[in-house]
C-alpha cells in the first residue's frame, strides 16, 4: 500500500512539474478578456473554457434558455469553483 501511495504521489508530482513546464501555444484560459466585445472571440473563448472547466466532469449539454442557463452556471460556479470570468464566457457560449 505504501509503495502504491509513493508511486501515485510521484506520478502526481511528475505530472505537476510537466504541466508547469509545458509551453502551450493555445490561449490560456486565464488570459483576461473582460473587455472583449467581439461575439466570435467571446464564443470561441467560451467554448474553450467550457471544455476546460465543465468538460472535466461531463459532456456539453444542449443549449437551454438563457435565463435557465444563468441559473445553471451560478450553481456550477459554486459547485465547481470556476472563476467569475470563466462563468461569464461559458454563459455567452452556451446562450449565444
Amino acid at each position: 500500500m505504501t509503495r502504491i501511495f509513493v508511486l501515485a504521489f510521484a506520478l502526481a508530482i511528475g505530472l505537476t512539474a510537466w504541466a508547469a513546464s509545458s509551453n502551450t501555444k493555445e490561449v490560456s484560459t486565464s488570459t483576461p478578456v473582460a473587455h472583449s466585445t467581439d461575439p466570435d472571440t467571446m464564443r470561441a473563448l467560451g467554448e474553450q473554457r467550457f471544455r476546460t472547466n465543465c468538460g472535466r466532469c461531463h459532456a456539453a449539454p444542449q443549449k437551454f434558455p438563457p435565463r435557465a442557463m444563468s441559473t445553471v452556471l451560478r450553481h456550477m460556479r459554486v459547485r465547481a469553483t470556476i472563476t467569475d470570468e470563466d462563468m461569464r464566457l461559458v454563459l455567452f457560449y452556451m446562450t449565444q
Binding site: S30, P65, R67, A68, T71, R74, R77, V78, D84, L91
Partner: protein, 368 residues
C-alpha cells in the same frame, strides 16, 4: 496577536523590509477577499436567472455475486436564484433497491429518502462564496462533482467513497481564482455541527478543507483534502485527488486517494470517447469505454461498523470495465463488469441500466 507576530519576527530575525512586505501582502490578500467587487454575472433581463428544477433519474439492474438487484434512483435538484448574489439549492435522493426474497417470489425492498444538500450560497465577490446549511462535504472530487448518475462513468461507487464524504450541516467558504495565466486555485473550508435525531439529515461535528490547483494548459488538476472530526475519537482524514483531460485525445482521467481511521484506499479511472475511430463515426462518437482499478485497506473499525458505513468488511481490490452509450443529450445507456477480490470472497458484478438528466425552467420560458 500582533504582539505574538512581532515577537515571532524578532525571534527569527526577519528584517523590517520583509515585515512591511508581508504586512502589505496580507492586507492585499484580505482586501481582495472582502472588497465589494462588481460581479460580471447576470445583469441583463434576458439573462436574469430563473428557478429551475433539474436532476437525474436512473434505473439500474445489477447482478452482484449472483444476487440480482433492481436499483431505481430519482435525484431532483432545485435551484432558486435570488438577486445577483444569492442561490438556494437543494438535492434530494429517493432510492429503491429491490431484490427477490430468499426462496423466490417477487422483487421487493425499501425506498430510502435522503436530503443530500439544502444550502444558501452568497457570492460575496469573485473569490469567495459563503455557504450555509446542509452541503456536500468537499472531500476529494467524486462526492461533489462526479456523483450524479448522468455524470459518473461507472455506476458502482468507488470503494472509498464513504470516507469523510457524509453531508455536513454548517457553513463553508469556497471559491476559485486565477493565480496567473497558467494556474487557477480552488479552495473550500468548512465547519459542520452534530446533527442527530432527524432521519435523513444527520451529520457529525468536524472541520475540514480542500484545495486544488488547476493547470488549464494541460487540463490537469491536483489537490488535497483534510478533515478532522471534533467528536468521539477526534480523528483526522486526508486525501489527494487528480483529474486530467489531455487535449489531444478524448480521455478523462480521475483518481482519488483517501486515508482515515475507517480505512484507506485509492481508485483510478480512465474514460475514453471513441470519437477518433474512423469507422461507424456516428455511433463511435456516442460511445465511451471506461476502466477503473481500486483498492481498499481496512482500518481500526470492526467489520460490522465498516458495513454500516458502506465500506468493505475486509481488504479489497476491484477492477471494473464499462461501456456508456450517449443516446441523446442527458440520456445514456450504461453497462459494466467488475470483479472484486477480497478475503471475504471473490465475486463478479454486472450492471446495466439507463440514466437521464432533466432540466425544467420554472419561469422565463424563452428559447435559446
Amino acid at each position: 496577536m500582533g504582539l505574538h507576530l512581532r515577537s515571532l519576527f524578532t525571534k527569527v530575525g526577519v528584517g523590517r523590509w520583509w515585515r512591511r512586505l508581508l504586512a502589505r501582502l496580507i492586507c492585499a490578500f484580505l482586501l481582495q477577499f472582502f472588497a465589494p467587487v462588481r460581479l460580471h454575472s447576470q445583469t441583463g433581463d434576458t439573462e436574469k436567472p430563473v428557478p429551475i428544477l433539474s436532476g437525474t433519474a436512473g434505473f439500474l439492474t445489477s447482478v452482484t455475486a449472483g444476487q440480482t438487484l433492481l436499483d431505481t434512483q430519482f435525484n431532483p435538484v432545485l435551484l432558486v436564484p435570488l438577486g445577483d448574489r444569492w442561490l438556494v439549492e437543494s438535492r434530494g435522493e429517493f432510492e429503491g433497491v429491490f431484490q427477490r426474497a430468499p426462496g423466490g417470489g417477487s422483487f421487493g425492498g425499501p425506498v430510502h429518502k435522503h436530503l443530500d444538500y439544502l444550502q444558501a450560497d452568497y457570492i460575496a465577490n469573485s473569490y469567495v462564496t459563503i455557504t450555509a446549511g446542509r452541503f456536500l462535504t468537499p472531500f476529494g472530487i467524486f462526492n461533489e462533482r462526479l456523483y450524479p448518475e448522468w455524470i459518473r462513468a461507472l455506476q458502482p461507487d468507488p470503494l472509498i467513497l464513504p470516507i469523510a464524504t457524509a453531508s455536513s450541516d454548517g457553513a463553508m467558504l469556497r471559491g476559485g481564482f486565477p493565480v496567473n495565466a497558467r494556474a487557477n486555485v480552488n479552495y473550500a473550508a468548512y465547519v459542520s455541527a452534530t446533527s442527530i435525531g432527524v432521519d435523513g439529515v444527520e451529520s457529525e461535528r468536524h472541520v475540514g478543507g480542500r484545495a486544488g490547483v488547476f493547470f488549464p494548459g494541460p487540463r490537469l488538476e491536483i489537490g488535497a483534502s483534510w478533515q478532522k472530526t471534533l467528536q468521539d475519537d477526534r480523528k483526522n482524514a486526508f486525501g489527494f485527488h487528480l483529474a486530467w483531460q489531455p487535449r489531444r485525445v478524448p480521455l478523462s482521467v480521475h483518481s482519488e486517494f483517501a486515508r482515515a481511521n475507517q480505512g484507506s484506499g485509492y481508485w483510478a479511472e480512465g474514460a475514453y470517447r471513441l470519437s477518433q475511430i474512423n469507422v461507424w463515426n456516428r455511433a463511435m462518437r456516442r460511445t465511451e469505454i471506461v476502466g477503473r482499478m481500486q483498492q481498499f485497506i481496512g482500518g481500526n473499525i470492526s467489520p460490522d461498523t465498516a458495513a454500516s458505513l458502506g465500506l468493505p468488511v475486509a481488504n479489497t481490490r476491484e477492477t471494473d470495465f464499462g461501456v456508456n452509450y450517449f443516446l441523446k443529450d442527458g440520456l445514456k445507456a450504461v453497462g459494466s463488469y467488475g470483479r472484486q477480490f477480497s478475503s471475504a470472497g471473490n465475486f463478479n458484478q454486472w450492471t446495466v441500466g439507463i440514466a437521464y438528466r432533466f432540466l425544467i425552467p420554472l419561469g422565463g420560458g424563452d428559447t435559446p
